[in-house]
């Protein structure tokens, strides 16, 4: 078990106003598996969070790269979750 520091943007701020959250994760090998655990944690621990698809429509990123769901986890414990975008 380890903790990851998850920075959030956009729609996630509705549920995590301070913009980041510590999430315990266990035995994750891929980014897609991490997303599953993030989703379960938010549903269980944030009463107002009722989004069934938001995590899965979002991309995880490091400070410099957007990650693919099938990417292997890196050793870094800091991630950012990027919900669907709407610039312009």
């Amino acid at each position: 078990m380890k903790n990851i520091q998850l920075k959030v943007f956009g729609r996630f701020k509705k549920y995590i106003p301070k913009g980041e959250i510590l999430i315990p994760v266990d035995n994750v090998e891929t980014v897609g598996e991490l997303k599953q655990q993030i989703h379960r944690y938010l549903i269980k621990n944030i009463p107002s969070y009722n989004e069934e698809t938001l995590v899965f429509e979002s991309a995880l990123a490091t400070e410099v790269d957007i990650l693919n769901d099938d990417d292997q986890m890196i050793s870094d414990n800091h991630y950012t979750i990027l919900p669907p975008v709407c610039g312009g």
Binding site: F9, A59, L82, P83, P84, V85, C86, G87, G88
Partner: protein, 162 residues
């Protein structure tokens, strides 16, 4: 790349920005796309929009998009992309894309390509404030890095937006 300038700003964008992307001596065309905040969206009266950007990734994506446009149409084009961050009032500029090229066709194509790709790929989010006091994060486009080619192809058929 010397002929690409990208910027994210918390300051109001004004017409001085036009001076930041001058045509080279071989350029005969300059095309400017301006996006403004409008007072209605999906039937609701909007009084303010607040943009949020992941600045570091935004700069990277803006540069990638501009580089793609240069390769696709004209390597010697000059390109400027400026996007607002933070609160933006109705009728204020939210984004400006300028392309200067040898002939007009490429300048149209480059600015169109860049603004459509920004809407699909740049890590930017928009919160709308309505006159009735409510707020809402605008639903957008899922980032799909792992199928970048598919995304690029799809976005060329994307015609919504300003």
């Amino acid at each position: 790349m010397n002929n690409v300038k990208v910027s994210i700003t918390n300051e109001k964008i004004n017409v001085d920005v036009l001076c930041q992307c001058q045509p080279s001596r071989e350029h005969g065309a300059s095309n400017i796309f301006c996006g403004y905040v409008r007072n209605k969206n999906l039937g609701r009266d909007v009084c303010l929009v607040e943009y949020e950007c992941h600045a570091k990734l935004c700069y990277k994506v803006f540069n990638e998009i501009a580089t793609e446009a240069l390769k696709k149409w004209e390597p010697s084009a000059n390109i400027l992309i400026i996007h607002r961050n933070g609160p933006v009032l109705i009728s204020e500029l939210s984004v400006v894309v300028i392309a200067t090229t040898a002939h007009r066709d490429e300048s149209y194509k480059i600015t169109r390509y860049i603004i459509e790709e920004i809407k699909q790929r740049a890590p930017i989010w928009k919160k709308e404030f309505y006159v009735d006091g409510e707020t809402e994060w605008v639903k957008g486009h899922a980032l799909c890095q792992h199928r970048k080619d598919d995304c690029l192809e799809n976005s060329q058929h994307h015609t919504s937006g300003r």
